[in-house]
């Protein structure tokens, strides 16, 4: 597998760094791949921009930062505006349905919309929006099997929130699979 460069962007407090850690951990610990994650965040604890840069590869990873994105997940408008121009042609784009208006559109992107806010509300906890997005991304990216990411979710979320987060992950994954089926030409 060639190198896949991924960015997950949003605002501080949404859990975008944790999302990156889950995908990185899944790749590096459970899927037999290499993964390098670097993070950037504003000085504020919440509300500022926040993003995780993740490289996943079957080969050793030397240069640690992402340059041209193969995959982009954005959970805020700011992140969309800032990062979407770096997406490669035919790159994978996942945007959150209620928080991101994908304009101007990225021509040629394989674009999926995750209704993470709505699905999180169905579970009664808006805070799991990030884990729903991880599940959705896992399904549409087809980078790793479900089990690898699910194990990483289990190892990464606070004790006492496991059931909720696993439900959120499965819900996101199912929504991702649905979206993939409805877009056969893009897959």
């Amino acid at each position: 597998m060639a190198q896949t460069q991924i960015r997950i962007g949003g605002f501080g407090g949404q859990g975008v760094i944790l999302s990156g850690i889950i995908i990185g951990r899944a790749a590096a610990i459970h899927a037999g791949l290499n993964a390098t994650l670097v993070q950037s965040f504003g000085p504020e604890a919440r509300g500022s921009s926040s993003s995780a840069e993740l490289i996943v590869s079957s080969e050793p990873i030397w240069y640690p930062y992402v340059k041209h994105l193969d995959m982009l997940v954005v959970l805020s408008q700011d992140a969309y505006n800032k990062f979407s121009p770096a997406l490669r042609p035919r790159g994978l784009l996942v945007t959150e349905a209620d928080l991101v208006k994908p304009e101007p559109p990225i021509p040629g992107a394989r674009h999926f919309v995750v209704p993470a806010t709505r699905l999180a509300e169905e579970l009664g906890r808006k805070i799991v929006l990030n884990i729903i997005s991880v599940g959705f991304f896992g399904a549409v990216s087809q980078l790793m099997p479900l089990e690898a990411i699910e194990r990483a979710v289990k190892e990464s979320v606070p004790p006492g929130t496991l059931d909720l987060n696993l439900k959120a992950f499965r819900k996101g994954w199912e929504a991702g699979e649905q979206a993939l089926k409805q877009a056969p030409a893009m897959a």
């Binding site: 590096a28 993964a35 670097v38 030397w62 240069y63 640690p64």
Partner: protein, 384 residues
């Protein structure tokens, strides 16, 4: 002696370099850390504050860096393995006690997660600009050991190793990380305790009353005494005799300073720790360390793809500098290329040893890592 399993988090983990350094210290049986948290090293002490109490260790958040760097000396003489953790501005404040640890032959570890400077500079962004400070930052003549990890795995490995070297040579050992390596997450595999060899403290066999705290053994390193066992001796930062008492004669100064430097210089070959790739038969060798050693590789591969013979020489131990190795290589080479996240520090060491070979520095003021294309251009330029 194997590591105490209580401190060894055996398994495969997805950790950043800061957290991995904490685990390296724990595995090395470090049980005392005094620190004054500073970005980008804060995560090291955050994890220490959580993890150390679980294994009977102590973390103290001190009032400042001076206190931190001298508290560890007290802990060491009390019998613990100890370290402090900081970044550039704090490292500057600790220089006094680096020298004190050298003079009193206190085995201890300093971690510096380097950020851009001078002064408070770039708190959240990388640099490798404290490399000469590590070597020369404290006053007087001395030798230290400085290590340079290029991944979270090596933040574990080299922090572990730093404690062993500190005990073996009784010097402060400086782990020179950088923000990029410190905040980068990768797989870190921590071995089982029985696979981790601990260099035990060099306890004296002399009885109390016969113990000479600064009488060197054959390898120029003296033995230490267990606190609370009836050994009474004097310790000072002043020039001292073998009993530890001040002796400010020219002869005592010559004897002591020569021994403090020789115990490292005479072991420079044993201390050499480099990783080589394609160095034999190369026309150009890229000498690099830390995060820059990774960033240089795509550049080297691009040059090799177009037929250039380029070697990669990565220094895991930067101080003492591998002089002999560079001199030996220099005779068969056209050039050395030295990329580093500073305006030219280790490149001076290479120049000193390069003989007739050309030396091309690739400076960078820090804040991010080099663009590999810039290193590639420097390599192509060097062989032109």
């Amino acid at each position: 002696m194997h590591a105490d399993p209580a401190g060894v988090l055996t398994g495969a983990h997805f950790l950043d370099g800061d957290h991995a350094a904490c685990e390296g210290a724990l595995a090395a049986e470090c049980r005392f850390v005094a620190g004054y948290p500073i970005t980008p090293s804060t995560e090291v002490v955050e994890r220490i504050a959580q993890r150390f109490p679980l294994v009977g260790g102590v973390f103290i958040q001190m009032e400042d860096e001076l206190a931190s760097s001298i508290a560890i000396a007290g802990a060491v003489w009390g019998g613990k393995r100890a370290m402090t953790v900081t970044s550039g501005p704090g490292f500057s404040l600790m220089m006094e006690h680096v020298g004190f640890a050298v003079m009193t032959e206190t085995p201890c570890v300093f971690i510096n997660v380097q950020r851009g400077g001078p002064s408070t500079g770039l708190p959240t962004l990388p640099a490798q600009a404290d490399m000469m400070q590590a070597r020369w930052g404290s006053h007087g003549d001395y030798e230290i050991i400085a290590l340079s990890p290029n991944s979270p795995q090596e933040c574990f490995d080299l922090t572990f190793k730093a404690f062993n070297l500190a005990e073996q040579y009784r010097v402060p050992v400086l782990v020179m990380m950088d923000e990029c390596v410190g905040h980068m997450m990768e797989r870190v595999v921590i071995p089982r305790a029985e696979e981790l060899e601990i260099y035990p403290r060099r306890w004296t066999k002399a009885a109390p009353g016969e113990y000479l705290p600064f009488a060197p053994g054959e390898d120029l390193v003296p033995a230490m005494a267990r606190a609370g066992q009836g050994y009474r001796f004097h310790m000072t930062g002043l020039t001292h005799n073998e009993r530890g008492y001040p002796d400010m004669s020219v002869a005592a100064q010559a004897r002591l300073v020569a021994r403090l430097t020789d115990k490292i210089r005479k072991n420079a070959d044993a201390l050499q720790d480099v990783v080589e790739d394609g160095v034999d038969g190369a026309d150009v060798v890229v000498v690099c360390y830390g995060i820059t050693s990774r960033v240089a590789l795509p550049a080297i591969e691009a040059c090799r793809a177009s037929g250039l013979k380029v070697g990669w020489l990565r220094l895991r131990t930067v101080w003492p500098f591998p002089e002999r190795l560079i001199r030996d290589l220099a005779s068969g080479l056209r050039a050395f290329v030295v990329p580093e996240l500073n305006m030219g520090q280790i490149v001076r060491e290479v120049e000193r040893c390069a003989g007739a070979a050309r030396v091309v520095g690739v400076p960078h003021a820090g804040g991010t890592v080099h663009d590999p294309a810039v290193i590639e251009r420097a390599i192509r330029e060097a062989v032109r």
